[in-house]
C-alpha cells in the first residue's frame, strides 16, 4: 500500500505532549472548511509518496531519535483527513505498529473533521482501534479559538465546536 504525506514534523499539536505530527495528503470533506489551516493538504495523491512499511520505518526512526529524552510522546494524525478512504488503512496500520513498539509511551491522537456520529455511522470504528485521543469536528472559522486578544495565537482545539475526547468517550458514544 502506498500512502501520501504532506509532512512529518515534530510539533505541539497535542496540548499536553510533545510529539510527531504526520500530515496526510487529501481531504474528503466537501465543501472544505473555509480558512482551513492546511489547504495544501486537500488534494489526494500529492505530496510525498511512501510504501506503508517504509513510512512506518521513517516514523519509528523519528520517534526513536527523541524517546531517550521523553517518557511519553504523542503521534498526531492530521491532514488533510486521516480517515479519508485513501488514508484510513494507513492510520490503522501505523497506530497499531507504534502501539506494538512503544506501548503506553505513545499517545495516538487523531484529528478529523468527522464528529463521533459520523465515525460511528460511517463504520470507521475499526480504523481507530489504536487511537487514544481524538480532536473531532470541522474547523469553523467563525468559532475560531484564539488564546490572546489580538487573535494571533491559535488555541486548542482550533475552533470551539471541535471535541477533544478520549477513546473511552467515543466508545461510550458508539454504544448509545
Amino acid at each position: 500500500m502506498n500512502i501520501h504525506l504532506n509532512r512529518a514534523f515534530f510539533s505541539n499539536d497535542n496540548p499536553h505532549l510533545f510529539g510527531l505530527s504526520i500530515y496526510f495528503q487529501g481531504c474528503d470533506r466537501n465543501p472544505k472548511c473555509p480558512y482551513c489551516h492546511n489547504p495544501q493538504t486537500w488534494a489526494p495523491y500529492q505530496g510525498y509518496e511512501y510504501e506503508l512499511d517504509e513510512l512506518i520505518e521513517v516514523i519509528f526512526n523519528k520517534l526513536d531519535y527523541v524517546f531517550d529524552s521523553y517518557d511519553k510522546l504523542s503521534l498526531c494524525y492530521v491532514g488533510g483527513e486521516p480517515l479519508a478512504p485513501y488514508n484510513r488503512d494507513a492510520v490503522l496500520a501505523i497506530s497499531k505498529a507504534v502501539k506494538a513498539r512503544y506501548g503506553d509511551k505513545i499517545v495516538n491522537v487523531l484529528f478529523s473533521w468527522r464528529m463521533p456520529d459520523e465515525i460511528i455511522e460511517g463504520g470507521l470504528m475499526p480504523y481507530i482501534e489504536y487511537i487514544d485521543e481524538f480532536v473531532l469536528g470541522p474547523y469553523d472559522y467563525t468559532l475560531r479559538n484564539y488564546t490572546d486578544e489580538n487573535n494571533t495565537e491559535v488555541g486548542f482545539p482550533a475552533s470551539t465546536n471541535q471535541l477533544y475526547i478520549k477513546k473511552e468517550e467515543l466508545i461510550y458514544a458508539s454504544t448509545i
Binding site: 509532512r7 510533545f18 510525498y48 531519535y65 531517550d68 521523553y70
Partner: protein, 641 residues
C-alpha cells in the same frame, strides 16, 4: 586635484586589473567603488534612511543615522583599502606576489571574506577578558586618566564601564566579560562588610549597579555603536574549575563563595528579564555555560534556573559542554582553553597552568577570514574531487593571510599602539586565527547533495559525508597549521550577518545562471528552510563538535513554551543530542517607548507594537535595523516552530 595614495605601483596595477576583470559592480559590492568617491558617498549617505544600505561593514547594532555615524562610515572604505594594501604588502614579503595578489583577488571576487576589513591590519578581533587585573591594578593603562584599584562596588562598576569603552575601541569584535560576577561579588561583599549597604536594601543596592552598567553598555560608545559585550552565567562546575585556588584581594578563597556568585548571577538574570519590560536591550549578550555529562546537567539547579528565567524572552544562549576547557564568549565563537594551551608548548604550558583562575579566561580570536563554500561548488563545476582540491588550497591561502595579519598585529603591539597587549590584559598567544565557513548548506545543495521529503529539507547521506569531508579538510589544515605557522587556528561557522549576503551577491554576479541564493546559511540548515526542528538538532549534534570555533543552533519559536517542563524537556533533548551551543528565538515586540512584550499590545503603556526584536545572528536587535536582505527576505521567511 588628485588624492594621493603612495602605494606600490603593483598594488594599483592589481586593482586596475581586477576592476577590468570583474567589472565595477564587483568593486561596488566590495565597498571599494563609489564609496571611495567622497562626493558620491555624501549623497548616498544622506539620501538613504538606513546606514546599512551605505556602510561597507554594516551590522544591525548601528541603528542611528547622525553626523557621528557619517564620520565613522565615511572613512571605512579608505581604511578598508588601506588594510588590504598592508596585508597584501606583508603577504608579498612572506609568500611572494602571486599569493598576495591571489588574496586580494579572492577577497574582491568573494571567494573569501575578510571580516572587519577596515580594521583588519590594525586591530584584533575579540577577546574574553578576565577582570582580575582590573580589580588588582585599576585602569593604569588608560594614560590620560589613571585610576587606582577600586575599593567599592560603585568604583568597580565604573571601572568596568570605562574598561569596556577603552577595550571596545581597541578591537573589532566582542568584549567578553565572563567572570564579571565573580569579581562583582567581591565588591558586594566588601560594601556589605564596610556597612555601605543600607539595612534591608541589598537587592535594591545591587540592582542599581546592574542598571547603571547595563544602560551604559547599550550607549553608542564604540564610535557609532554599542560595544559588543557578553556576560556568562558560569555554573558551579565552571566556577570551581576555573577559580580553584584563586583568591580575592582580601585573601579569601573564591570557590568558598561560589554560592554567593551563583546568587548574584541569578539576580542579574532576573533583573534584566524584568527590566526589559521597561527598556529592551541588545547588550550584554547572555550565555549560560553549563556542564552536561552522562545524560544530565551536572549543576541541575543552574540549568533549571536558566530554563525558567529564559521562558520570558529566550534571551540567553545555552553553551553546553562535557568538559570545562572552553567558555563561549562571543555570540558564537567558542574559545577552547585546552587547544590554546597545547599550542603553546610545554614550557609555556607550565606558566599558564599556574595562572589557572580568572586569568584563564583571557582568550579570543585575533582575526576571522571566511571561506565562501558555495563558491567552491561553482568553481569546481560541482565535482567533489575538484571541490576538495580547491578547498584545501583556499584554507592554505586563508592561513597565510591570518599569519601575516598576526605579524602585523604583533608589530602594532611592539609599537605600543595596542596597549591592552602591552599591559597583559590581552595576549596574542591566547588568540586563535579563525577560519570561518559560511554556506555549508548551499554548497551541498549546489553539489546536488540535498533532498526534500516529508520531514522537510535534509542532506542526503552523501551530503552528510560531504559536510564531514569539508570539516575534516579544514580541521586537518588547522592541526598542521600549528607546526607550519606557529599559532593555533580554529574553525567557526560564522554569523556572517553581512558576509552571507555580500558573498551571495558576488556569486550571483559571477555565476548568474547557477547561483540564485539571496544569502548563505549560518546554520547547518538555513533559517528559512522548511524542515522539521529535529533535523536542525540532528545536524547540530552531528557537526558541532567538529567546529572547534563554534556554531550556534537557532530554533525559532512561533509562540512561547506553554510550560517550563516543555522547555526543559526540549533543552535536555538538545543537550543529549550533542548540540553544544544553541538559542531559542522568539519575537519580542516593542512599543514606541521601548518596552518589551510578547504579542501586539504593550501591557505597560497600552501602545501598539512598533518593532520586533529577535536575534539577527547572535544578538537581539530590532528587525527594522536588519540589513535589507535579512529584513525583507530572511526574517520574513524564517521558519518558526
Amino acid at each position: 586635484m588628485q588624492v594621493q595614495f603612495s602605494y606600490q605601483p603593483e598594488f594599483d596595477e592589481l586593482l586596475n586589473k581586477l576592476e577590468h576583470k570583474y567589472g565595477t559592480d564587483m568593486l561596488e559590492l566590495e565597498g571599494l567603488g563609489s564609496n571611495l568617491d567622497l562626493d558620491k558617498f555624501n549623497k548616498k549617505f544622506f539620501s538613504n534612511d538606513l546606514v546599512g544600505d551605505v556602510s561597507v561593514d554594516y551590522n544591525a547594532n548601528v541603528r542611528s543615522k547622525h553626523m557621528g555615524t557619517y564620520f565613522t562610515e565615511v572613512y571605512k572604505p579608505f581604511t578598508k583599502l588601506n588594510s588590504l594594501y598592508v596585508i597584501w604588502k606583508e603577504l608579498k614579503k612572506y609568500y611572494g606576489k602571486a599569493i598576495a595578489d591571489e588574496f586580494i583577488e579572492s577577497e574582491i571576487n568573494g571567494a573569501i571574506y575578510l571580516h572587519d576589513a577596515h580594521h583588519a591590519a590594525f586591530m584584533p578581533y575579540c577577546y574574553a577578558y578576565s577582570l582580575e587585573q582590573i580589580v588588582r591594578d585599576g585602569l593604569p593603562f588608560i594614560d590620560t586618566i589613571q585610576s587606582v584599584p577600586a575599593k567599592h562596588l560603585g568604583t568597580f562598576i565604573q571601572h568596568v564601564i570605562q574598561f569596556v569603552m577603552f577595550a571596545s575601541n581597541q578591537s573589532s569584535g566582542a568584549v567578553g566579560l565572563p567572570d564579571f560576577f565573580v569579581w562583582m561579588n567581591y565588591f558586594v561583599k566588601k560594601d556589605r562588610e564596610d556597612g555601605l549597604i543600607p539595612a534591608g536594601m541589598e537587592e535594591w543596592y545591587i540592582n542599581q549597579y546592574f542598571q547603571i552598567l547595563t544602560y551604559s553598555f547599550n550607549q553608542p560608545i564604540r564610535t557609532n555603536q554599542s560595544p559588543y559585550t557578553n556576560f556568562s552565567y558560569l555554573d558551579r562546575n565552571y566556577l570551581k574549575s576555573i577559580f580553584d585556588g584563586a583568591k580575592y584581594p582580601d585573601g579569601s578563597s573564591i570557590v568558598d563563595q561560589i554560592e554567593d556568585i551563583i546568587k548574584l548571577q541569578k539576580m542579574y538574570w532576573e533583573w534584566i528579564a524584568a527590566e526589559r519590560a521597561k527598556q529592551m536591550f541588545t547588550f550584554p549578550v547572555l550565555t549560560a555555560s553549563l556542564l552536561y555529562k552522562d545524560g544530565k546537567f551536572v549543576d541541575e539547579d543552574s540549568a533549571k534556573f536558566i530554563n525558567k528565567v529564559n521562558m520570558r524572552w529566550q534571551d540567553t544562549n545555552w553553551y553546553i559542554s562535557d568538559s570545562i576547557d572552553a567558555v563561549a564568549s562571543c555570540c558564537r565563537l567558542t574559545s577552547s582553553i585546552k587547544s590554546l594551551k597545547l599550542s603553546l608548548g610545554s614550557d609555556k604550558l607550565v606558566g599558564m597552568s599556574n595562572s589557572i583562575g580568572g586569568s584563564d579566561l583571557n582568550i579570543g580570536s585575533f582575526k576571522v577570514i571566511t571561506i565562501n563554500l558555495p563558491r567552491i561548488a561553482l568553481e569546481s563545476n560541482r565535482k567533489e574531487k575538484e571541490y576538495i582540491q580547491i578547498l584545501s588550497h583556499r584554507v592554505e591561502l586563508v592561513q597565510k593571510a591570518l599569519h601575516v595579519i598576526r605579524i602585523i598585529i604583533q608589530e602594532r603591539i611592539e609599537q605600543g599602539t595596542l596597549p591592552l597587549y602591552n599591559v597583559g590584559l590581552m595576549k596574542l598567544d591566547r588568540q586563535y586565527g579563525t577560519i570561518g565557513i559560511t554556506g555549508v548548506w548551499e554548497a551541498a545543495d549546489l553539489m546536488g547533495l540535498t533532498e526534500q521529503n516529508a520531514d522537510g529539507l535534509n542532506y542526503t547521506k552523501c551530503g552528510e559525508q560531504f559536510v564531514q569531508d569539508i570539516l575534516s579538510i579544514i580541521r586537518g589544515k588547522i592541526e598542521s597549521g600549528l607546526d607550519d605557522y606557529g599559532f593555533t587556528f580554529n574553525i567557526e561557522q560564522v554569523p556572517a550577518e553581512k558576509a552571507a549576503v555580500a558573498l551571495a551577491q558576488k556569486d550571483r554576479l559571477l555565476y548568474s545562471d547557477q547561483a540564485g541564493y539571496k544569502l548563505y546559511s549560518n546554520q547547518w540548515l538555513p533559517l528559512v528552510a522548511d524542515t522539521d526542528m529535529l533535523n536542525r538538532i540532528k545536524y547540530s549534534g552531528q557537526f558541532d563538535k567538529q567546529v572547534s570555533g563554534g556554531a550556534i543552533l537557532h530554533i525559532n519559536l512561533g509562540s512561547p513554551f506553554r510550560t517550563e517542563e516543555e522547555s526543559w524537556k526540549l533543552v535536555n533533548l538538545i543537550a543529549q543530542k550533542g548540540v553544544m551551543y544553541f538559542a531559542f528565538n522568539q519575537k519580542i515586540s516593542t512599543c514606541k517607548h521601548g518596552h518589551a512584550f510578547i504579542g501586539e499590545r504593550c501591557p505597560v503603556c497600552g501602545g501598539n507594537k512598533v518593532d520586533e526584536y529577535i536575534r539577527i545572528v547572535g544578538y537581539l536587535v530590532p528587525v527594522s535595523s536588519f540589513n535589507k536582505t535579512r529584513r525583507e527576505y530572511e526574517f520574513v521567511n524564517r521558519k518558526f516552530y
